[in-house]
Symmetry: C2
Subunit: 419 residues, 2 copies
């Protein structure tokens, strides 16, 4: 069995960081589909090209991103004004040209991923380098206050560890494994963290940190990470599905994170798979989560097992060829594939990326997912939709949190003022 299951890989390396200070201007994200969202998306492509290809001329950037030279010229001008890039004269094929290089002005964005049992914090520079990164365990059933205090403490520790002045912090993007009502900024019922329902995290955490705080569903951040840090920066329509104790997904449509009406999207975990199945925490029956989440796998494989079963143990068993573990994963994968087929039939994405704690299973999980997709999708859609594992592993959500901060127009006052 091949393990070439990721669509691509990317190395992200920590680096040294001088400190300066800076405060963003405002906290509103650009409206999806708006001109500022388009500009932000184009800027993201240019940054991705500079990250992967190093300093290069505008003509090279145009070829690498598919954007017109006029668009590249405008974006580079705006990014240079706001200090994200510098330009230096060079020659290319004997003609004068500008070499574009990513700056590092010492500012830093925090990405925070809070799960049911884990907390991860990353610090990234405006040129999208990962400076610091750490994760710790959280007590299951922790309160929101507890979780936010732990996040704040870990953030402080990372700043101290990197010798980064606190005033260099631009903002924090926090991912929560639950639907967020964007009208109120609160976690809504149905979250995998019931203790967090109704809490306004943005306000609570913003008061503590004294910087702008962006709160989003963790799967949305995972999707954003795929098109920002991952190998999918050129993908227009992407679904990121996180398979863990819960199952959720985030959508990038026409190049931007998609939020719909009230912000609750991608609730794939509650697709009905068995009309007469077991009761789901959402109150419905036979939802995808009741047949394909890691909680369900643990429950199924825990029966009659003398050992304590957890996700890591299941992965070990499966990689070692344990028949029961393989069967449970196969059934889960086929059900996920069926739910994904209905999604693909509806929104026809280029790429579906699977994230969460099971990514190291590779083809053991991917194969039944692809089989379920092909079985239930309209043929042309099944044939043209690629499914792969996230190459960002369990870092995707936190990286997405940092990406949200860096995508914020407040970070680039010239962008905001030219809007």
């Amino acid at each position: 069995m091949t393990t070439k299951s990721a669509c691509g890989t990317l190395d992200l390396m920590p680096a040294e960081l001088p400190s300066t200070m800076r405060t963003p201007l405002n906290t509103a994200l650009p409206k999806p589909g708006s001109q500022s969202a388009l500009r932000e998306q184009n800027q993201r492509r240019v940054i991705a090209a500079l990250m992967s290809g190093g300093p290069q001329t505008q003509a090279e950037l145009s070829r690498q991103t598919g954007l017109s030279t006029a668009t590249i010229s405008n974006i580079v001008k705006v990014m240079a004004t706001s200090g994200i890039v510098s330009t230096t004269p060079t020659t290319s094929s004997g003609r004068r040209a500008l070499s574009v290089i990513l700056n590092d002005k010492g500012q830093v964005a925090a990405g925070i991923d809070i799960g049911r049992r884990h907390l991860r914090v990353v610090l990234a520079s405006p040129n999208y380098r990962i400076l610091q990164e750490a994760s710790v365990s959280l007590r299951p059933g922790h309160s929101a206050v507890e979780g936010l205090r732990a996040a704040s403490d870990l953030l402080d520790a990372l700043l101290a560890n990197g010798g980064i002045d606190r005033r260099a912090l631009l903002g924090a993007g926090i991912g929560i494994p639950g639907p967020i009502d964007r009208r109120t900024g609160t976690v809504v019922q149905g979250a995998i963290l019931p203790e967090w329902v109704g809490i306004n995290i943005r306000e609570t955490f913003g008061e503590r940190l004294q910087v702008p705080v962006f709160i989003d569903n963790d799967a949305n951040l995972g999707a954003l990470a795929q098109v920002t840090w991952g190998p999918h920066s050129a993908v227009e329509n992407l679904l990121f599905i996180k398979v863990g104790s819960g199952i959720g997904s985030g959508l990038v449509l026409n190049g931007s994170l998609y939020y719909g009406n009230v912000g609750v999207t991608g609730e794939l975990g509650h697709t009905t798979i068995n009309e007469q199945g077991v009761i789901c925490r959402c109150g419905n029956r036979g939802c995808l989560e009741t047949v394909a989440s890691t909680s369900t796998m643990i429950e199924l494989l825990g029966r009659g097992s003398a050992e304590t079963v957890d996700t890591q143990r299941i992965i070990e068993w499966a990689l070692a060829g344990d028949t029961a573990a393989l069967r449970v994963i196969d059934d889960a994968g086929a059900a996920i594939g069926r739910a994904l087929a209905h999604v693909a039939n509806l929104i026809n994405p280029e790429t579906i990326v699977i994230g969460g704690p099971l990514t190291s299973l590779g083809d053991i999980l991917l194969e039944p997912v692809r089989r379920g997709l092909a079985r239930h999708a309209v043929p042309l859609i099944g044939e043209t939709t690629s499914v792969c594992m996230s190459s960002l592993g369990d870092r995707a959500e936190a990286l997405g949190g940092a990406a949200v901060v860096l995508a914020h127009p407040g970070l680039t006052p010239a962008l905001a003022s030219s809007a």
Copy 2:
């Protein structure tokens, strides 16, 4: 039982039309999410406001559309240059202002809806008035050539009837009840019109008419009609589901028609409802179409019926309270609601509009659909998604065809050249 099932209504009246000539510049539709798509969407809102509210000042347009006065001023300038509107000085609250009025320069766009058994053609002016409209029956199993000849003949008859010079024709937008591969412009396998598979309608029909031809899935055109001619011009995220001999849907996301990767989207009819159900024409089992299409209803109610059953007969029976007809419609509605719940969980639209031949059933169909939606959707999504019948009846798809032509940048050379 209340029959207030439409979200709103709109009167469209035919009108006189002088003739001039005009040719569009190019045939590429703007890329979704691009600046030109955004401009087109804003222009559509302004036109909708002028259609419903008559001539008004830019300040009034700003209030009615929610667009900034600066944006309105830019749009009006572009539309005036391209001749869509005229402006005349007026006063508003004692201050000088410009009154904006829709022009009618005698040009005409054709919208064509080709179904398995019907053909409808509408002619609309650039200020979105319906000038001519007619529908005829088609022989079931007609060939593509036959269908296109009938469409061309009916179009000629409508032009003659309205005294409209053929040279005034800007283009034709054609809706087909099947998935269209946008990479090739052909109908792909899985279409309800198997005779049309692989035909390049754009080329075939374009040669015949000698004007640009736009081909799209009929449900996509139905969705576009809802935000163009219908009462939903302010809706950002809308799903239009057409329930007929097949079931398909079209998506407006972030204000624009959504096409995904290869253009095959909204294939809701092939959501698996019964894993062990009957075989569907797509090759799968238990698809929504096998339990909720009018073909299935006809089959179910035809058994043991001495009469010939068709959709119209089923509607009459249901409206007269026939128990069997009501039960078949109730079961179909609940299944449609379940499929819609999964869609709503994923893309969280403001509004779902039901179109097709069953719209006159009103709450008889709407009630089980809403019930199925509420039962299977995440609670917050079920509560915030409105479901209603299309107020455009069976005209939606043809109207959408005309809207595609009118939304085309070639129609407004000033817009295209400023892109």
